[in-house]
Symmetry: D2
Subunit: 296 residues, 4 copies
């Protein structure tokens, strides 16, 4: 039996280390990126770099995508020279991007009808470090048996693949993840400001709560920076968390779910963004709750 050939589309911060890990695990990997220069590092490691997308599609059994947003996935799937044009029904598409669940369901349905290709949505958490170390957590939506059959090729990338339900469920789960994180960061900003105003040495809070019920990775990472008013370099953006919350609220509206905490969080994040902080680090949220002129 011939080994499975993987075609990986999207050589961004995540795609480069992910495809490299697959290559190093002995799998046959081809890659493609819209801007060809991003693929250069792969060449040096002996990975095949395709000049044209249709070429990669033709020569692969499993198509993997990891791009920035819904529009970018749509361009690859439905755009000229893309998967809908050149794919065939023996193929499987695994989309690692974090995109809109409803768009995922619609594109998957249309692609299945047109080409027979089966779609697994598989957004990840764990960041660039997880991609490099192969410790990503994958939240997968799609057919259970199909996802099971992909475990071998997902193994070099991840510590865990969780099947969340039918197509789109992986994307919904990723949104749930972001909802919890964004709400929590807003709560932390309130808590840190309240502690300060109540005479507490807020810098000690993350240490004091470590390992307890209130602890989380964001508390340990952003708590100290909030307390120290240490906002540079910008590690993530207020506008990114706002985008995540807006996506969560759109999903909630579409599924007739009330989400008053996430709704509140979106409004507060937007308030902070409109007060001039859209491009700043979310740690700056503490400024919204500190009285004017008060500093650490």
């Amino acid at each position: 039996m011939q080994p499975l050939r993987i075609g990986f589309i999207g050589m961004g911060l995540m795609g480069v280390p992910m495809s490299l890990r697959l290559h190093r695990a002995g799998l046959s990997v081809s890659v493609w990126n819209r801007s060809p220069d991003k693929s250069e590092p792969l060449k040096e490691h002996g990975v095949r770099v395709c000049e044209h997308l249709h070429e990669l599609i033709s020569d692969s059994d499993i198509l993997m995508t990891c791009v920035t947003d819904t529009g970018a996935v749509r361009a690859i799937v439905e755009g000229p020279g893309g998967i809908a044009e050149h794919g065939r029904d023996s193929q499987v598409l695994i989309d690692f991007s974090s995109i809109d669940p409803q768009a995922t369901r619609e594109m998957a349905e249309a692609l299945k009808i047109k080409t027979g290709i089966r779609w697994i949505d598989a957004p990840v958490s764990g960041g660039v470090a997880g991609a490099e170390q192969g410790t990503l957590a994958i939240m997968a939506g799609g057919d259970a048996a199909l996802i099971d059959s992909m475990r071998t090729v997902l193994k070099p990338l991840s510590q865990r693949v969780t099947h969340m339900g039918p197509t789109g469920s992986g994307q919904v789960t990723k949104i749930c993840n972001q909802m919890i994180v964004s709400c929590n960061v807003l709560v932390m900003a309130e808590v840190m400001a309240l502690a300060e105003k109540s005479g507490v040495d807020a810098k000690q809070i993350p240490e004091a709560l470590k390992g307890g019920f209130a602890d989380s990775i964001p508390l340990q990472l952003t708590g100290p920076r909030m307390a120290e008013r240490d906002f540079d370099p910008v590690k993530w953006h207020v506008k990114t968390l706002l985008k995540d919350l807006d996506m969560a609220n759109a999903l909630a509206k579409d599924s007739a779910s009330a989400v008053p905490m996430a709704g509140q969080a979106a409004e507060l994040m937007r308030l902070h963004a409109t007060q001039g902080s859209a491009e700043r680090d979310p740690c700056t949220l503490i400024e919204m709750y500190s009285s004017k002129g008060e500093e650490a």
Copy 2:
């Protein structure tokens, strides 16, 4: 030099294992409880049980309290036969109870003036298991040098003592801890209901998010129970989280801090409580967000 004699007041779920650990660490421990029967187990282990509170006060160098609420601390400190009457200025009071910070500051101030006793507020996190294993996290408010000098007697109880600021700061920190937890549980209820309505197998969410930015102990403990509608036995109460949130909001009001996330959380928790769930487990919050008749 004579060894320090500890007097421990309050033989509840926490006080019993805490005083026992101090005794087993070779310290001289006397105990007292308002209802004498609660002290019986200590006798069996050879701990001295005092019949009268004033007796324990007279015979101790360090007074420790661990009782249910502000009123109970006040009764021990300011009530007849209590610490204000029988204490002396060489003593130190360490209060492990979780109570109102402002009441702490006022009682500490008054006790200092009347008797010279110095007060350390030292609420804990880690629960009964932490008390039994000596792995509590202690959030301490009071004089830094005084707290340092107590590290030997706190060592058998805790993995960590964090100095948070002047008297009352420990209590403020404990409220901050509870704020984060209560807000997070409300966010989780929204997230789990949203996931279900969006076609996701919500039972998989805690596993899928494990170890990531959205993870927390409450997610792992209550997430599965929410998804399974597994509300019995009641492990904690909606009314307890509501009380914590109300205390947080009172503190915020007193310190002129806006806390819109915690304010929102209090109202939602109250809404759930008034809809007949005050005595139920907080996992029942998912019911508020599930459409009528919808079940797992």
Copy 3:
């Protein structure tokens, strides 16, 4: 000079009395409706009823539309046989419908380019009674001079035409109106339930607050019904207020405006809707805040 010929499209609850008033004011009026039977009453009053939309378009100087939603306006403007196909650049379109501002701007722009027709968005408040009595309040968006030149034909319909800004501004203003109303109804539900729980005879509240700073038409109309738990007949729907709030929040998101009160209102309205009340009267909101089993 020849008198202006008006073509009125949409013979609904508002369109019928509006076109009748224009006719009775001596203006030359033709009408058209997608379902022809709705136009029958007009015939009896001597108004010309067109069989085909293109016929009405050809024979009119001013086109007026009053239909249910954005899709219905789009069908008339951009659909087959519609205004974009048959209109000409001397015409003016006055849209009395309450629809999406952004869609209004886009359709107006496209229609202007294609045909030269100028668009006035002119949503109204005052309901059927206002339409019958000619006392509508018109919130108009578009060119100021053009709106001024239309005052003669708007006169029989309205007590007031307010120019709010460029095209789309009328629709934004209508959304603002709905935001205030929906938020206020939610506040009233809280207030009435709180009054009851505090031992007050809530039925007296609307009377007690009459004419004061807290008074409003909704307080007088819905307050007594809330207090009496008088929910039938259904006079408006929870889902309608929810739709209004969702439109307001979408507008706010698009214009980067934080609207935490309206955001809160949308989530609470959605919560009530998902708890089985979408098709019920908004007066039922008081049930959400009354303890289980409590009644007036």
Copy 4:
């Protein structure tokens, strides 16, 4: 039969015109104020001014109070030389002040037991103009027959006396009034900022919505000032609205009522206050929602 003698306590902005109207209506009125100079204007009109509070108490059948807050009422009722000391059981106390309902109930109960005096809480709306013109709206709590028997003496002051329930109900109603007003002002700030950002001439909004479902006195009074950024002179204070909302939320908490809109309003008002606007006019709330640097 001898005419009823009224003793009016509290010669503030409201007390002066109210006692003057009673005097002019032919009633026998004595007045007293803590700072005697405030009573001077009354003397000129021939009203009897008492030097000592106990003197006024002894010589009156009906005691009326109109002072600033709960503490001030308590001082008059329970303080040295006050009503509890010098009152007698044939007397009636009518308190026009806006104070805490629970304190009202407690003081009324204690005073009844001690002296037999019956208490009517009777906060008013209508402001100084209403006091001068005798058009106040009175929200009365207490015994229905007793309140009825007072209609003659309340007639010169008010257009309307509404009986709201047992003692304290008047105060609860006043709080309900303030809740609606404060929430509405916050909604208006959002709406006006949203309208501006959406290209609308916000100055036209109050006029456009006049007489409709969204209209209210605050919209007409503060809407134009918000749109014009006309914040001086300060007509009322952010901190006053915050105090009202905090009182409402305290009442809600005590009666186990969820009030998520008023809770939200309190947090937003507090946020604005802590950002340096406590002493400013509530019209400044629009600044919170306008992007930095944006102006009318």
